[in-house]
Symmetry: C2
């Protein structure tokens, strides 16, 4: 009862003046509140919430991307909703339901196009970033997953039903992208990852073992299988959740990634694609995220171990810290130069903040069932 | 006469409303106007100047760094001046002359400390980023060069007179940094470079051949010599300018760097420190800067070839474009995801903007003897 009352209070009271004159945006962020269809705008420097924006629909599996000026967040909801939030004025500037069921999106490197990956009706739709008017509709005869931006007004996406990767090049004509279609990627891609340089696209496969990578500097890119034993037919425990490929990390020349159904983190040589070692961890890992300097990797876990977070030394591959930041740790976001990490504790209704050098807790912020945390510095990176 | 008249006009007329209500900062930048002691605040999205801030002293060899929220630029002048510019209100918020002769600075990863590297009286001074009050003064018995931030409230600097590197760790007590002093780095360091992960510090030597690297993950770091023939006793042409080490690029596992006194770019394997190949270019290179995706490197040149810019393919190491963007090209800055490059044409009094995919000119901005161009996304990166 007390908990419910507090939550109601949070909803009804403005958290702060959303637009008190002048405010820079480099230290802002947006937290998805998955159960209430709302987002919380947060300030890294003050370790505080600024305001809440509501009415974004089903955010049970939501992500977002930022405009290059860091003013607008484009929020991709599971219900096909595409919402444009002005984080400086704390308003929902525009919203449309562009499909029946969607799974993420991306913004082009010139900031002009926002693309959304759809389960229903499938394919990709592309919108004008200013007006949200539809610019292009590319049906692919399949559900699509793992949509990411690549340099040069390009988007890359994988097709669940047909096992392909499509590269959409909008450089010459935004409304009529040149399409490069790569077949034979593997059975049922369920997610994908773009490396930070926009060169390598890694596709996770649900329908068979292993993963497929594509070198986008090749013309046309050729599918290459790596980690042939990854993912299928090997769990010794029930698989509670297929790990997102965004839970992978490329630190130096080594990938660190969550094993599927095992209490292990895998280390893979990026050049050869071969596994080099494993680290035993406290549960089934979900995200294996490098601190921006690559010296440490922070790991969170699927239920029932989702109250723990472990820190792995990037050189020795040994566990160096085990923390218990809260209940239901769904996501970890580092401040851009890595000094702090912000963790969403869904079942505690708060975001918890740690210093990554001292491992001391620095603060916490009330939030309603928080999931993804997104800092504005993402606006300046490829593949996010 | 016409040129002088235009310049006077630019000075006397406000360029735009500097604070027209709400403005996000992710797409802003600051251009150093070296001859007039002023800086120009620019907007990437509009490809336009917003306003000018004057009274910053001698900016003939100036650099700057941004606060984490991207609101403030800390400008380091050659005359020892440290100026704090509010780029949202377009005002000089604070300024002090902290030394007789200075050469760059850095901001700590928590945004709380600003450090300046001094020629006269030498050593490093550290200031509170909010008030500019002095926090620490670390005399080193030497001129200092190549000051850079490292993760964990640390600064790293090289000493010209004594051939050392000092690591200043302000984590436990900002006013009394723990000092790690590494001797035997080499004769007369003249500049240094920090890699983007904050791990490797590369020191250029004026007093002997070769360069020295330090792995800051070692405790204590051990000096390691690389490229034993680099820099001295080999020029076949007069050396017009020692290249800044900020002109180096680490693209993938390969360094690309300007040769000294030669019309060549050198390629060096980062792991072994050995030269692997050379590319002939149009003059003595100054900056060899990778487009953010690493696929291309853009090169500018010392006089008399400083009207040209060349683009090298990162895979083939061949020249793929030669451009003539203007007179006296001093600096190149990419938009964060690499779609545009902005070039300062000092002797044309303008900044010129190119699309990095089509190589078409997109626009230009009037500026007074522009030199360095700094976009706010730098706030989120280590070692800048």
């Amino acid at each position: 009862m007390i908990r419910a009352g507090l939550t109601a209070l949070i909803i009804s009271v403005p958290l702060a003046a959303p637009a008190d004159g002048i405010r820079a945006t480099g230290d802002l962020g947006v937290v998805i509140e998955r159960a209430t269809g709302s987002v919380l705008v947060v300030d890294q420097s003050d370790r505080a919430a600024l305001c809440r924006v509501e009415g974004l629909g089903d955010l049970s599996h939501a992500s977002l991307t930022f405009s290059p000026d860091e003013r607008f967040a484009y929020v991709f909801g599971r219900d096909g909703g595409l919402s444009k939030v002005d984080i400086l004025t704390c308003t929902l500037e525009n919203r449309l339901v562009q499909a029946g069921n969607a799974i993420g999106g991306a913004i082009s490197d010139d900031g002009k196009l926002v693309a959304v990956s759809n389960y229903e009706p499938g394919g990709v739709k592309v919108f004008d970033a200013v007006t949200l008017e539809q610019v292009a509709d590319i049906p692919m005869g399949s559900k699509t997953v793992g949509l990411a931006d690549a340099p040069g007004s390009r988007f890359v996406v994988a097709t669940w039903d047909t096992g392909e990767v499509w590269v959409l090049d909008h450089l010459a004509d935004p409304a009529n992208p040149q399409i490069t279609r790569i077949e034979g990627v593997g059975a049922n891609p369920y997610d994908a990852l773009m490396t930070a340089d926009g060169r390598t696209y890694v596709v996770g496969l649900f329908g068979e073992k292993g993963l497929t990578t594509l070198d986008l500097w090749q013309n046309p890119p050729q599918p290459r299988r790596i980690l042939p034993d990854y993912g299928k037919n090997q769990p010794d425990l029930p698989v509670y959740k297929m790990p997102h490929l965004q839970g992978w990390t490329l630190a130096g020349s080594t990938y660190a990634l969550p094993a599927v159904g095992l209490h292990q983190v895998l280390w893979v040589d990026a050049a050869s694609g071969a596994e080099t070692s494993r680290t035993d961890v406290a549960g089934q890992p979900i995200f294996v995220t490098a601190r921006p300097d690559g010296r440490e990797l922070w790991v969170n876990f699927a239920t029932p171990d989702n109250g723990a977070v472990q820190v792995i030394d990037g050189m020795t591959h040994q566990i160096k810290q085990t923390l218990q930041p809260g209940a239901g740790i769904l996501h970890m976001e580092f401040t851009p130069r890595g000094r702090e990490v912000w963790l969403s504790a869904r079942d505690d209704d708060k975001v918890v903040i740690y210093d990554t050098r001292t491992y001391q807790k620095l603060g916490e912020i009330e939030a309603q069932s928080p999931s993804g945390i997104f800092f504005t510095a993402r606006a300046h990176r490829t593949g996010l």
